[in-house]
């Protein structure tokens, strides 16, 4: 018997736009991870995406790179993250995703990594440099064995045929990258991007979609949510917590501001 994945349950029951916030594990200080997660949930976030720091994050822009580097310098590692998350489910009820690059997962051991994810209560994985062909050939079976959703990206350059294929392989939701860019490179949503959102919305995919990259405030969150189930904020959040004086209070305020609930 498998219980329903928290991601599926969320999308099945959500009545308002879903907000997914990315945070870098072990940042701003090494032991802040659970403080950040609890504050995100208290603020009303719907999904939490925890970034596993990596030395060479090629899909990320400067803000997230610097947070990765800072976390690593403070001693962050995959093993330590699992240690930090071991009692996560005592307080966190929202879905939790781990985001990161494939190499640290390979070194931890793919099966051991997935088993540990299931043990601490992780619901899905975003591994941008794990290509779909490799996923299908060597990873899918293991991910599914541990009930982990593999969240895959599409971009404005992804053609319809490939989008259909990604949709057929995906579970949970599809991560729509709003523009051809690394994270945090652009802010705001242009009319071209809205056309792209509408084009994808009209494809009637089986998976819901969240829009990420370039979402930084209430306005861009609302705009993106018009043509998707919600949106993802990363760099803007990381930039905020890098400077936060009262971490928990400022996180709660940030989330409420994005959702328009203050």
């Amino acid at each position: 018997m498998t219980k329903m994945n928290r991601i599926s349950a969320l999308f099945a029951s959500a009545t308002e736009p879903i907000l997914n916030v990315y945070t870098t594990a072990g940042f701003p200080r090494l032991e802040d991870t659970m403080t950040v997660l609890n504050a995100l949930q208290a603020g009303g976030v719907d999904i939490i995406e925890v970034g596993m720091p990596y030395s060479d994050p090629v899909a990320d822009g400067e803000t997230i790179q610097l947070s990765n580097q800072a976390a690593l310098e403070q001693g962050m590692s995959v093993a330590h993250l699992f240690e930090q998350l071991k009692d996560m489910r005592k307080s966190i009820t929202v879905p939790v995703l781990l985001m990161g690059y494939i190499n640290p997962v390979l070194q931890y051991g793919v099966e051991a990594f997935c088993a540990k994810c299931a043990e601490v209560g992780v619901d899905g994985l975003i591994l941008p440099d794990l290509p779909m062909v490799e996923y299908e050939a060597s990873y899918r079976e293991i991910f599914e064995k541990y009930g982990l959703f593999n969240i895959r990206l599409i971009t404005p350059q992804t053609n319809d045929e490939r989008i259909r294929h990604i949709d057929s392989v995906s579970k949970g939701f599809i991560y729509m990258v709003s523009s051809a860019s690394t994270t945090g490179a652009k802010t705001g949503i242009s009319s071209d991007q809205e056309l792209y959102f509408e084009r994808i919305a009209a494809m009637n995919l089986q998976n819901p979609r969240l829009i990420g990259f370039g979402i930084s405030d209430h306005e861009s969150f609302v705009k993106a949510s018009k043509n998707a189930s919600g949106a993802i904020i990363g760099s803007a959040f990381v930039k905020m917590i890098a400077q936060a004086k009262d971490l928990s209070a400022e996180i709660v305020a940030f989330v409420q501001l994005i959702k328009g609930k203050n």
Binding site: A59, S77, L106, Q107, Y108, E134, T155, V177
Partner: protein
Amino acid sequence: MIMSFNVDERGYYGNFGGAFIPEMLYPNVEELRSRYLDIIAEPSFQEEFHALLKDYVGRPTPLFKAERLSTKYNTNIYLKREDLCHTGAHKINNTIGQILVAKRLGKSKIVAETGAGQHGVATATVCALMGMECIVYMGAIDIERQAPNVARMRMLGAQVVPATSGSKTLKDATNEAMRHWINHPVDTHYIIGSVVGPHPYPDMVARFQAVISEEIRFQLQEKEGRDYPDYVIACVGGGSNAAGAFYHFLDEPRTALIAAEAAGLGVNSGHSAATTFLGKPGVLHGSKSLSMQTEDGQVIEPYSISAGLDYPGIGPMHAHLFESGRATFFGVTDEEALVAAVECSQLEGIIPALETAHALAVFERLQAKPNEIVVVNVSGRGDKDLATYQNRLKLND
């Protein structure tokens, strides 16, 4: 089953290779993958490529019998003179090939990474030749220590952008070039400078560098009456000059393939770039290969006196040659390379690049017989390293 040392249809060399790239790069890499073989096979491409190699690069480069080195080591040593290529190294064989591919893909802009600056100069050169915009990412630390090549690139009209992330060296320049490509996917082609990166790059770069071993074959036939040597020696950072020097001998069992890696201050000194000794299987810059990394999978910053070998990985082809035992890898320290550079300079009148000096340092360990033939790929000339030579060898004291 016959073991193949070339890439398979999935983009793998044995257990290594593939295209581990974010979805943002998929359309670009897929476009390249689906078209590069057809483009390269086009008669018009071949004609243009070979005409430029001949009249612009100056190929074929000589295969020179190094008599005094041969006498010293009691064997027959030939130097393949890639140092005589236009711009001073083998790198231009690849940039000529790739810019012709980029033109046929309809791209108008080029991005590249560079470590020592040789690939950056070779890229800036072909961009000037073809009238294409050129952006080169270079680690902020490398920009400081390779000032002459930065000036050359700028003289050629390229924009040199410092990579300020991470350790500010070649691996970070590569990350930045990939990020640039992610942000400019439609009009830009990324010219990778070595046999690294996602498939099809390792194979494409190896094919363009394969002209080196193609020439060695016919030049040996002329000089020695046989078209294979007993040994081919080349240095390996990412491994493009070695891939080119090995290429036509991969399936020639009579030829031993010898790779010289940079052992820095010593393989186990903590200051080394000897990836086959220190690396583990993993994914770096888009392919599965051997790379130097922590237990947690974080990339370790390597060290070598030679900026061109100062890279924490090797191309997937070389990882396979290592794992299968087809090639033999030697670690060569900074000191051994310096001694070999002086030896080649004073016995043959050829000042090699520091990278090449690593390949010239293995004769003693090779123990080649008097009737055997050894070919060393002289991948580049030493002009760019004069400051290091002056400093380390106290040439101005």
